[in-house]
Symmetry: C4
Subunit: 208 residues, 4 copies
Amino acid sequence: MDRSRLEAFSDGVFAVAITLLALNLTVEGPAGKLWLGGQLSAKWPAFAGYLISFLTIGIIWVNHHALVRSIKQVDRVLLFVNQILLIFVVLIPFGTATMADYLPQNSSSARLAMVLYSGIFLGMSAGFGAILEWTLRTGHVYHPLPPEQHWPARRRFVGGALVYVISTVVAAFSAPAAFVLISVVAVYYIFERTPAAPGDGEEEKPPA
Amino acid sequence: MDRSRLEAFSDGVFAVAITLLALNLTVEGPAGKLWLGGQLSAKWPAFAGYLISFLTIGIIWVNHHALVRSIKQVDRVLLFVNQILLIFVVLIPFGTATMADYLPQNSSSARLAMVLYSGIFLGMSAGFGAILEWTLRTGHVYHPLPPEQHWPARRRFVGGALVYVISTVVAAFSAPAAFVLISVVAVYYIFERTPAAPGDGEEEKPPA
Amino acid sequence: MDRSRLEAFSDGVFAVAITLLALNLTVEGPAGKLWLGGQLSAKWPAFAGYLISFLTIGIIWVNHHALVRSIKQVDRVLLFVNQILLIFVVLIPFGTATMADYLPQNSSSARLAMVLYSGIFLGMSAGFGAILEWTLRTGHVYHPLPPEQHWPARRRFVGGALVYVISTVVAAFSAPAAFVLISVVAVYYIFERTPAAPGDGEEEKPPA
Amino acid sequence: MDRSRLEAFSDGVFAVAITLLALNLTVEGPAGKLWLGGQLSAKWPAFAGYLISFLTIGIIWVNHHALVRSIKQVDRVLLFVNQILLIFVVLIPFGTATMADYLPQNSSSARLAMVLYSGIFLGMSAGFGAILEWTLRTGHVYHPLPPEQHWPARRRFVGGALVYVISTVVAAFSAPAAFVLISVVAVYYIFERTPAAPGDGEEEKPPA
């Protein structure tokens, strides 16, 4: 199994999932006689959710790319953990729509919707962590990390994943606070380096 | 006709179909005043169907890749049998949604919905078998199997396809039993080797 | 502009359009208390439309591939005529859904729906013809046809396009007759060679 | 990070967004007993919006391709500004649907809908300008423009973007006038050269 079709399939799933996010953006239209400006304002949680989910999928796509391009040999285990990652990516439009529907409320449903939203990101993060773990254990990458760098690599990943653990817990108490946290992460990662993947920044081709 | 665009098109169809699975995941939202937890629990068949269909498409994608990468020369017959495979892949979101709608019932409609769901997988499997048969008959692969290995290759494929024949028959009597069977297959294949394709595990490039 | 991204974009559009065809396949579900078998039977035009549109998109994709791979140099005019082709491809799911909704009726709306459906295929065919014409006029292909073969190439294309002219006219009088005609074309092309594209069957790489 | 996966992901998003445009094309069907011709006529803004948005996405895709293929080295900043571009591309089906719903009206909602539609194109244009600016500043392209050509390159881009500034302002006073302006731009760009990107028309491969 070569890497390119794994990338092509994953890219397709990322691209469709990110585009389906916009299906949640709808207004009632002229039938209801409401001013469009009022309709759009009332949909602010859908727009905020669109923005944050779009940025978050973008970040995980960049990280996925950086990690996968370091891989020399694809096996069945990697395909499986990649599927785990994608199963959560595809859930994001659903999670975003549900979260946005309840965000303006202060109810147990709103908190549960935010736990679901944050939990999907946590699952996605876990899938990404499983791919990282696979690269560390199998060493099927172009520049395997020496064993003494395994824990630092894991630690940097866990640092990122921890935010989604925290936001999932926070969501159980306050949906808006969890949403702010998730938004801060999305914006923060745009300006920061992601956890370095094994071989990140190196050539993805074997030395000739 | 070269192989790469067949792969690109098929990957696109697989990626879109797998992502559209999530369109069936919707909740009523706050309008109905029902607790979100109750709404999500009531949708358990949709989530179960999402998971099993996602894994099953993932498995057939992996098998498709393994088989197609062994192919040296694409002809019109192969394009046609590949279309047969894809026509069933694209039906999966519809089959999953219908099956999930009826799964909680014990009715002839529920059994018919499960026959439909299982039958779509059977059709997909038949399309995959037709591609396998094409590779055996034309020998348009990098490492054609010697004739004495044709029947073992077919037998391994039929072993897998047989499960969908059985689950389709079982569905006519018990929808839940058929769903359990299909789920077991999806989980089993994740941990098992798939039927070896001609040239599987070999280089997909001609010897220089 | 190189050819590969034109192919990748077109393949993406073909793949999404073919997958969206299935969005029209929906049943009412258990809410209406109708037997699922009855619901599925009543939707037979949607299933027939799905099958024929799927096969027809598949055929035009194969032809598109054969023609585009012979192209050596992409220019702005080609990009524009390719957009014309794709604008009709993307309309197919809408045309199919509308046609299927009205097919069981014998009304002027049913005939108009079939004119629309057939007309979309005619437009797609015209877009394909424009790409063929571009290859003949510019000669930006690996093996340009000698001028004396231009008319035979056009004639073979026009032969295929003519069917959609006829089916569009027939649709104005009888929707079912036009649908049978379109179906026959779809099945016929699966077993027949398509109009040969310039350089078809030849290497798409320049002689080294 | 290599360029090819950035292109593959962007192409996927462009292809899905352009295909989702057609989801807004729906008619009521036979249930409402209205003649299909009347239903289609009443939907003319949806068809006009489909056409213009399709052409506009097509133009930006061509420009995106021309600019990105000149890029030698992808960094995090480029990935971010590319996301900004895509975030507006994905909004186009929503903007088109909303604009089309209100276009036949003469109301403040109709003008706001057109401001939204035009504003999405303006945002897309700004994202494209940010990519251009990145290529000028970093010089990470195969044939960097000499500094004295930076302002001419910007001027040509700003010339194009200015149209969307104007149409957004015009939309606040007259929705139809703004739509005509946007349509003229879409048709104009089909026949004209786009702002030359650095290295446009040159080889995208480094001299061997």
